[in-house]
Symmetry: C2
Subunit: 499 residues, 2 copies
């Protein structure tokens, strides 16, 4: 496109894996989603705060799930003074740093929300990205289980606000203290067993996908998947594994689960604390009427992040979508959260109670597309009015047409390429424009401009001359007007096609 | 705030230098700014596109100004397969990658805009951050100087749209080809002199700050600043330096500058190309009426980025603000851009004409604060209605009050901390709330709630009992209503203070 000779390219035009570009439709749809979530969070009294993308590595800590090697999962680099910096992997760890840094001046409880991009240095896969967006709300400084119950109710309200119908989702609630009691009861308490505890939790977390049999294998010696890959298990014996399985039945209702904890974890202080919290949250949810299927206790919910200390929640979409192999699968998780009383304490030396909920914006965007939510499916804005540039020495005049349209708040542009009239009209079609403005020397000499209705023009091109209203259509598809009424004529054409 | 004993903190709650958090007022103001800029760019027919934060290092190239060491200025890290990745340092280099990657399917010219955070691994200073936001528009595939003229006019329109009054800014235009002609004329042409050319351009770029004398020093042996630090110069002799200085006079008008180029660069092909482009852009701007001080030719404009190949522009705010030493200084640059015909060509082996403009959102935010633009100075939204939690066993009932308010789209929250009534009211004040809802056992037994007007309450507290309307004020500042009319009573209080 230039007079220079063609050379070998010096760089390759591609993105690193797990990253992607976004076009206008996805950007506009995401903006609408974010506006709805923001409105819902604000209605609950949360206020905006934002932290930067980069933090000191040790301020973020290492709480990511599914990491076999240390330092994996996070993009890190050294600052000039050799200290380690990282891109944030979630919005909770940076919030904990923010609250600790501004502790004395913040109202307590401190209720805040933020949307932001986070980064995971993981192996990317289908639907699994290394950069994605989350939208979090957190209440810091509230030990009350009512704060956790509120997170669950807000999650439900927000999903409905976004167009997920009631019955199309469920907010599942569990408690890490119950799981801690289970682990203690099978002899996995104490610092020395931290690694094995994590392996057990990860096994439970796979119940949804692998079923009870698969989880039993992962609790025991290990499991070979369809591809032949072997995942080493937690090494529990059969009775230990059975004990765990008995306390993570996702179908068990809240009362039965509580009763079962009372029997099996009768001697566990932490287990009984968890039971009491489960009972409280179930009561608050029932009294608020959210026990109609919107929110329910699910003993199998774990949530991967290591920093949770009490209630944990997961927002699951229950409708089915075609899976990778074409078979229908449940859409699954679009968000989650829980209580993290120790996270702010890392900076302060004393724990600060805190709970939060995070929506996976990119996952939810895919879900809203699947249910045809109008928020993401609105038809795109039409393109701008294109003023053709037929005579290069008339650019200032064409530019004045464009300026007149813009002054009346009509999106408009001058064609700025080098091509001829047909290519310019094709360009306008490609932009999704409704109207083009044309002035060749004929029109100019008469002080006129031709207004072309590109929608009717396309219709005309597809029709035949036998058509009864052919002449009428042709007259409407392109007509000449005096320059002075350019704006009114363009608006007439735009109004024809506005809905 | 928890029953655990206090321990030594395990991490330090602070941000790396050059990074900062943002509170609700700044976030809301920035959103309003971005909306105005977006509207202005869309009116000009640009459409949204976004690229990720991370790119292959070699896709971004090295075009940053003021870098004495290679690789400085950019945050980089290795991917698992050992390839180098970087955080983007601007939005233009990633756009060039995007256009090259999607070249065949994009309309041409391709007109797009994007707002996004960029990162510079530089020494931070006052007002100089390592993470900041830019808002760019670019036209790729248009060789016409009309595309550059349009960028300048859009920059002017956008600043006015944002509340910078006409006369409070100027868009300065120059041409890199003229500067290239100057460099060639003093014998600095060719690959071997690339480093010295850059030193000369950097010296010119400092004309605004250092004046002609300072620039002469930097063109010659070098310059010692007030602190005694010595900056090595370009090593030009006196006649070379004089030749340069004669062609960068910022006060010279377009005609005189063009005449002077015609004489001094009569034999320079590139210089004459630059002159022709300057004449064209001046004509387009004059015919569109923007030569009334909104846009003008300024022979001293350089723009730091190395990839510019033709017209360059800079948006300067001309009003004065107090400088670091208290003395008034011109606010200076809030954006800039130019033609970068080679940037897409790095990926395609043939040049693709392109031009763009970038607004420094964070700089402009500071400027809008300085001129008191309503876009950034709007008073903050009031806080949510706070329902006090006086009896812990009544949480579900309090929760139902909150739910009733939210159902009528009134921002509301339940107080979730552990403190008593006075502290709860103080919390509501700290949140900027207008109204609190109170129900102790007295009110509950009567089936009532007390509605407290926190604005009148503060007025009451500051007044004396002698005040004629004291009793009336007290009755309005807190009153009891039946639970059934809670929402109407709250709305009445909110309406009192809405403006």
């Amino acid at each position: 496109m230039n007079d220079e000779t063609k050379n070998a390219p010096r760089a390759s035009a591609r993105l690193p894996r797990g990253l992607s570009d976004r076009g206008p439709a996805e950007i506009a749809a995401t903006e609408r989603m974010l506006a709805e979530i923001r409105q819902s969070y604000e209605l609950y009294g949360f206020e905006a705060v934002e932290t930067p993308f980069i933090e000191f590595t040790d301020a973020l800590g290492k709480f990511l799930p599914d990491l076999d090697r240390p330092n994996e999962g996070v993009f890190s680099f050294r600052d000039e003074d050799e200290s380690w910096l990282s891109l944030r992997y979630d919005l909770t760890a940076p919030l904990a740093r923010y609250v600790a840094e501004n502790f004395d001046k913040l109202p307590k409880p401190y209720r805040s929300y933020r949307a932001g991009t986070v980064f995971r240095n993981e192996k990317p896969g289908p639907g699994r990205f290394r950069q994605f967006m989350q939208f979090d709300a957190d209440t810091v400084g509230a030990a009350s289980i009512a704060a956790d119950a509120e997170m669950c109710m807000m999650a439900a309200d927000t999903l409905e606000q976004l167009g997920i119908p009631r019955g199309g989702y469920v907010i599942k609630v569990n408690n890490r203290k119950v799981l801690d009691g289970v682990l203690e009861a099978i002899g996995l308490g104490g610092e020395a067993n931290a690694g094995r505890r994590l392996t057990v939790l990860r096994a439970i977390d796979k119940l949804d996908r692998l079923g009870v049999h698969g989880v039993r294998q992962l609790l025991g010696p290990g499991r070979k998947d369809e591809s032949g890959d072997f995942t080493k298990g937690a090494g529990l014996d059969a009775s230990q594994a059975e004990f765990v399985v008995g306390l993570i039945d996702p179908e068990k209702n809240a009362e039965d689960h509580v009763a079962s904890i009372d029997i099996r974890l009768a001697d566990s202080r932490i287990g009984q604390e968890g039971r009491a919290e489960l009972e409280q949250i179930a009561e608050l949810i029932a009294k608020a009427g959210y026990d109609d299927g919107r929110i329910r206790i699910d003993p199998s919910v774990v949530r991967g992040l290591e920093y949770y200390t009490g209630p944990v929640f997961e927002a699951d979409l229950t409708f089915e979508v075609p899976g990778e192999d074409g078979k229908p699968i449940r859409f699954g998780s679009v968000g989650g959260g829980g209580r993290y009383d120790g996270l702010v304490g890392r900076f302060r030396g004393e724990n600060v109670p805190a709970t939060g909920f995070s929506i996976g914006v990119s996952r939810l965007y895919a879900a809203l597309k699947a249910v045809g939510s109008p928020i993401v499916s609105a038809k795109p804005e039409p393109g701008p009015v294109v003023v053709l540039a037929l005579d290069k020495d008339q650019l200032p005049r064409y530019q004045s047409f464009v300026a007149a349209l813009r002054a009346e708040n009509i999106r408009a542009e001058l064609y700025l390429g080098q091509s001829g009239m047909n290519a310019q009209l094709k360009y306008a079609d490609k932009r999704g424009s409704i109207c083009a403005v044309i002035q060749g020397s004929n029109e100019r000499e008469k002080g006129e401009v031709a207004i072309r209705d590109l929608v009717l023009g396309a219709e005309l091109a597809a029709s035949t001359k036998d058509r009864a209203d052919y002449l009428e259509l042709r007259a409407k598809a392109q007509f000449a007007v005096p320059e002075a009424v350019l704006v009114a004529a363009v608006r007439e054409v735009l109004d024809r096609h506005s809905s």
